[in-house]
Amino acid sequence: MTVTAATATRGLVEITGVRKSFGAAEVLKGVSLTIEPGGVAVIVGPSGSGKSTLLRTINHLEKVDGGHISIDGTLVGYEVRGGRLHELREKDILKQRTEIGMVFQNFNLFPHLTALENVAEAPVVAQRPGKARPSKEEAKRRGLELLDRVGLKDRADAYPRQLSGGQQQRVAIARALALDPKILLFDEPTSALDPELVNEVLDVIRELATSGTTLIIVTHEMGFARDVADTVVFMDQGQIVEQGTPQEIFTNPQEPRTRSFFSKVLEPAFNI
């Protein structure tokens, strides 16, 4: 079951039977998942369960070995022609990726560019489906707006190393938003942060959750997952074990594996 933001019309993600192996290890064993436009899906599970790999298949940073992923009905990484799946050329893959923003655990900001340059770089050079590239000035103006939105307008000229971890991650979110994506992927966005900086990042994501952009978030912050998700997905050993509303998954998990995982990660006070 998924809850849909009323205004969203784009950003439907359909994952069907996705498999992926690294060498002999199969990390995704046929994963299927649908996220409605504007939905907020939070993926939880033990480390090594394939959460991050699944996330990275959605924007084709990882090529799948089997199954497929589509966004608003369009296949990711492939094109159907004459009854065959043709692999897309890099240029077209890049084009697709502009509709799928990604925020990394280690921020991956470009350290030699200022906060504003980080945000304004991609829009000027990336080819986007059905959109013209803005001028440099236009991209900077929009970049400042986005930095303002994450509360960092006054740090626009700072280099990433001059910012705290939480500020860096907020810049990274602004950078992902600059391409006006349909979908935003968060790969453990707060795992590299000091505890007191986690909330400033979560607050920004919380605000995005109501914006109509589809969010897919891999995280270990269970309290946040409960607050913000309309679907919680529990993964273990390359499979989706259970999915449902936060209420269903956190307070009344059906599967023993889910129950045993939450008994280890949830604070006793949280376990109502």
Binding site: L94, Q127, R161
Partner: protein
Amino acid sequence: MDYSGYPVVAARHPWRWVGTAAVALGVLAVAWSLATNPRWEWGVVAQWFTAQSVINGLLETLKLTAISGLLGFVLGFILALMRLSASPLLVSASWTFSWIFRSTPLLVQMLLWYNLGYLYEKISLGIPFTDVRFFEVQTTTLISQFAAAVLGLTLNQAAYSAEIIRGGLLSVDQGQLEAAAALGIPAWRRSTRIVLPQAMRAILPTAFNEIIGLVKGTSIVYVLAYSELFYTVQVIYNRTQQVLPLLLVATLWYVVITSVLSVFQYYIERHYSKGAVRNLPLTPWQKARKFFATHAVANRTRSL
């Protein structure tokens, strides 16, 4: 106990003073002998240092360095990208290039290029394995001394700089490429705008070593009787028999070029350290200004 009224006495370092004195004495002795030994013939050095023929030779040296340095590094960048590409053919082509040009002496390469006309009388453009020729040119008219020198130096330089640039590119975190790819930034832009500027920090110190080596390395083209600085000086001392003073003239010019390059190196490295350090260190010039500013203030306060 309250120690706030006690004056602080700095620790003494007597051996530091002994060491400093010994070095100063050595420097003085060398300077004295350079100045007083008449066989250095400083008068002759001064006379030839700015002579028209020497200056012409110097300009040729600078020209060779600039052209082969630039072309060498551009070609080296392309070779490095080939080596890092996913295509096995490009990888092995790049590897083979570096292997060949790093394993043959530059002197041999130079002579080989110059004597290409002996191996291949004519160079022509046509369809391979047929008799169709679009144009044909005598090899000796195509490969002048200058062309042979540039070819030899460039290809050799490219082989070395390819490895330097590859090392630099590899030193950049993989996450940077991933982030750029996730943002849909095109491949060429990813290399030039995201990865290369960060790689520069690792590339520059070694690259300047190479360029400084190249400045002096150009002296090898004397085997082609190409009138760069070193060959020019040789011609002069063969005529005048003032061997040492003229070698000194060439040496001093090489020192001047290297010094200027070192200053460039300092500022270029500083430029690329933007963002890598929290705050850029002051340049020597800024340090000097700060020093005089604070001392001027101190003097003024003292006089008050």
